[in-house]
């Protein structure tokens, strides 16, 4: 028998065997059975996060904080007797990697839901996949308005206050406080910057923003943009920037002798993060107006911050306690609330119905907007100002919608955290 015949014969045998097995497993027409990721004692949940790469600074602390909260809940008996296993995988903020890790989580690790997947470009790519597989896609960590499309993506819900709502609230403050001053805008060249500008112009009027500049994260030089803002004679500058670029913008402006009033969106206005980036230059942050919707990580008189700090010290002690930690724990708290509301017989449909029913109250200052036809996250925030190195809240909590609706004061008080910091069923 010569080599080719032998090789051909072995390959043919293998092919026949494969074909025989293939004939036995015809799965194209049968719907999958039972609930993936849920057993009597466990719920498996997954997420994608930038643990390495350009976006990892700060953001990599979110998932461990959520996990710390879940560990605490598990140590106290879990939710309806089930322990929560939280698998977070690194996508390096690269959409191609997000595809792979989310598929691994859903198809291989059989997670029940994806929780708090981070990033607009990264998460946008997996919406279709999660929809096709009917995986609940809860509390996306981004303020893009894309998550609020209940008709197209019935399982996807946002968490952050969306950038348009933020823009409207910041503009309302500008209108009231800096009337008659020249207002300018600088934003990231994606949904973040664009949606924010829509909100600002919604309140101030289309022609009111004198100069509009944009940047991309891959180019660290913002001198041309800041120079243009200075040349336009801007007195108030709204920044829709990530922390690194808030710092860059302020530093560059200082170098150019340009001292406007900075009004900064939520993600780019955390004082702890910014002062770390600016180092010696942190006095530049003095007077900066920002916005937030979660309790301040430095204000231990806030009962929620105190409760989270206690859990943090016990389960996540090696990591710093900052805005990212509070964020991660708040997301985890909301998820446990949703699980409690979904009841003992946990299904994917049941969980989505529970979130759509809404009514969740927790550490957030502004109300959640979840309903059958609204899947966007929080609907407002409270302004902050840096005075003498302290970032403090001031004024009322504002709430509004993502369209032309008015900006209202939200008067309802937050509840105090439950005694054991775990939401009741």
């Amino acid at each position: 028998m010569n080599a080719l015949t032998r090789r051909g014969l072995s390959l043919a045998t293998a092919a026949v065997l494969l074909a025989a097995v293939a004939a036995c497993s015809e799965d194209a027409n049968t719907p999958p059975a039972d609930v993936p990721g849920v057993t009597a004692g466990e719920i498996v949940v997954g997420t994608h996060m930038p643990l390495t790469g350009p976006a990892a600074a700060g953001y990599s602390e979110i998932a461990p904080a959520s996990k710390a909260y879940f560990d605490y809940v598990n140590a106290n008996g879990g939710v309806h007797g089930r322990k929560i296993t939280y698998k977070f995988m690194d996508d390096g903020y690269n959409p191609a990697n997000t595809q792979t890790v989310v598929r691994k989580l859903v198809l291989e690790d059989k997670v029940f839901a994806i929780l708090n997947g981070l990033g607009t470009p990264t998460h946008t790519g997996v919406l279709d996949f999660l929809k096709t597989n009917r995986v609940p896609d809860l509390f996306v960590a981004s303020g893009s308005r894309s998550w609020n499309q209940p008709d197209k993506f019935p399982g996807t819900f946002g968490f952050n206050t969306d950038y348009t709502v933020e823009g409207k609230i910041l503009a309302t403050h500008i209108k009231a406080t800096y009337a008659g001053k020249k207002v300018c805008f600088m934003g990231q060249d994606d949904d973040f910057g664009r949606d924010s500008l829509v909100g600002v112009e919604q309140v101030l009027g289309a022609g009111a923003v004198v100069a509009k500049e944009k940047y991309v994260t891959s180019n660290q030089n913002v001198a041309p943009q800041i120079g243009a803002l200075k040349a336009a004679g801007c007195e108030v500058v709204v920044l829709a920037t990530v922390p690194g670029f808030t710092a860059l913008s302020m530093g560059t402006a200082a170098r150019l002798g340009f001292k406007p009033q900075w009004v900064v969106s939520n993600v780019g206005s955390d004082y702890l993060t910014l002062s770390k980036v600016l180092g010696e230059g942190k006095p530049l942050l003095e007077g900066m107006v920002g916005i937030s919707n979660l309790p301040s990580p430095v204000d231990m008189s806030d009962p929620w911050t105190a409760a989270f700090k206690k859990i943090h010290d016990q389960y996540n002690g090696s990591a710093p306690f900052n805005g990212n930690t509070v964020y991660g724990m708040s997301v985890a708290y909301l998820f446990v609330q949703s699980l409690q509301a979904a009841g003992k017989d946990l299904t994917r449909e049941g969980l989505i119905a529970a979130v759509e029913k809404g009514g969740f109250k927790g550490p957030g200052l502004a109300p959640f907007r979840y309903s059958k036809d609204n899947h966007s996250g929080m609907g407002g925030g409270k302004l902050t100002k840096v005075t003498a190195g302290n970032q403090e809240f001031f004024g009322p909590v504002y709430e509004t919608d993502s369209a032309a609706g008015p900006v209202n004061e939200f008067k309802e008080e937050r509840p105090a955290p439950p005694a054991n910091s775990i939401p009741a069923a």
Binding site: N2, A3, L4, T5, L11, A14, A15, L18, A19, V21, A22, S25, D27, A28, N29, T30, P31, P32, L51, T52, G53, S60, P64, M89, D90, G92, Y93, N94, P95, A96, Q99, T100, R103, K104, L107, E108, T120, P121, T124, G125, D128, F129, T132, D189, D190, D191, V216, T217, S218, N219, S318, A319
Partner: protein, 372 residues
């Protein structure tokens, strides 16, 4: 599919050792290269079809990714291995294909033309546009040697992602575009796994690429490519137009990369500059070197490694219990380190790459086997 020369310094004129397989082939197959490759491709297609029936959806998705990478690595093998031109810009060429496919798919969807029959058309468009880009780069490349050529292709790798930022109206800056992709045809069944469909699409593209490239390598064009690689002066004396051959190699290689990029866009359902960074270009080059530059089969190993290594390192990192902080830091960086280490080890232990190593082992086993 198998190429004998591994070392680029082998003189072109040296009589090639008689192809051993030809002895065992039936007459009609050894006479016609096209027929032989067609039979192999059909056979591989049937095997892969059966394989996709067996694999679970995640493995099918990985298989599809391997197939998409294979288009690019095969093209790069042709360029670097067969023609001796270096390219650090193949990731960017993939981006050209990917963005073209994304724009085409979205345009079709916007104008109400839906269904999977537009897929080949979008992919063909992607290939054509990338070929045009490849021709431009190839024209410049044909005049340059060594580090200067590397420099130009490096510039391409950096410039293409930057272009998506400059023309943000069309390419939507760093956020990128989402790609309108139809679910598998309903005729396959209501619960037909999407990943199996993706694997079929990508594997079809990869098989087609391999078939065409294998024929090209065995043809007169292929011999010209190798002649130019081995000695330009000798090639010129033999009547080969060196510049034209080099541009041709670049165009063919770009076409493959464009198809690979287009398939990636379909798999990821999104395109963004971050997915086609300089790192990807370097990874592709590393993959073909590890796989073995001498033959197209090396490109297969390279493509498999590109997908398997990150996955394997992730899984193996979970067996070792590490402190969360260390594990978190390792998560994304470990595959990079493993890839680099693999490259070093392969270069020391088997300069011919995985394929070269396999061939050596094969030869040794055959020597030991009793004479027939």
């Amino acid at each position: 599919m198998s190429e004998q020369t591994v070392t680029p310094s082998a003189p072109a004129a040296a009589p090639a050792p008689a192809p051993r397989r030809a002895l065992a082939l039936p007459g009609f197959l050894s006479r016609s290269t096209l027929l032989r490759h067609l039979v192999l491709a059909v056979f591989a297609g049937v095997l892969l079809y059966l394989l996709t029936q067996q694999l679970d959806p995640f493995r099918n998705f990985q298989l599809a990714t391997v197939a998409a990478y294979l288009c690019a690595t095969a093209g790069l093998t042709l360029l670097v291995g067969m023609n001796g031109q270096l390219s650090l810009g193949h990731g960017a060429l993939m981006a050209v294909g990917a963005y073209t496919v994304a724009l085409a798919q979205n345009r079709f969807a916007d104008s109400g033309i839906t269904g999977n029959q537009v897929l080949p058309l979008s992919l063909a468009l992607g290939v054509l546009v990338t070929m045009a880009a490849g021709a431009v780069i190839g024209l410049a490349a044909a005049r340059l040697r060594g580090p200067y050529l590397a420099g130009v292709t490096l510039a391409v790798a950096v410039a293409v992602p930057a272009a998506t930022v400059t023309f943000d109206e069309t390419f939507n800056s760093e956020q990128g575009l989402s790609v309108a992709v139809e679910p598998p045809p309903l005729s396959l069944g209501l619960y037909f796994p999407n990943e199996r469909w993706q694997a079929w699409v990508a594997l079809t593209g990869a098989l087609l690429t391999m078939l065409l490239l294998a024929n090209l390598v065995r043809s007169r064009v292929g011999r010209n490519l190798r002649a130019v690689r081995d000695d330009e002066v000798a090639a010129r004396l033999a009547g080969i137009h060196v510049g034209r051959t080099q541009v041709l190699a670049f165009v063919v290689s770009a076409a493959s990369a464009g198809l690979g990029g287009g398939l990636m866009a379909l798999l990821a359902q999104s395109v963004s500059p971050g997915a086609f960074s300089l790192t990807l270009s370097l990874f592709l080059l590393m993959a073909v070197v590890i796989g073995g530059l001498g033959s197209l089969s090396g490109a297969v190993w390279g493509a498999v490694l590109l997908v398997a290594l990150p996955d394997l390192t992730h899984d193996s990192a979970q067996w070792v219990s590490l402190s969360p902080a260390v594990a978190q830091r390792l998560e994304g960086n470990l595959p990079l380190a493993v890839f680099g280490l693999t490259l070093i080890v392969v270069m020391i232990a088997a300069p011919g790459g995985v394929q070269g190593l396999l061939r050596r082992i094969g030869a040794r086993v055959r020597r030991r086997a009793p004479a027939r």
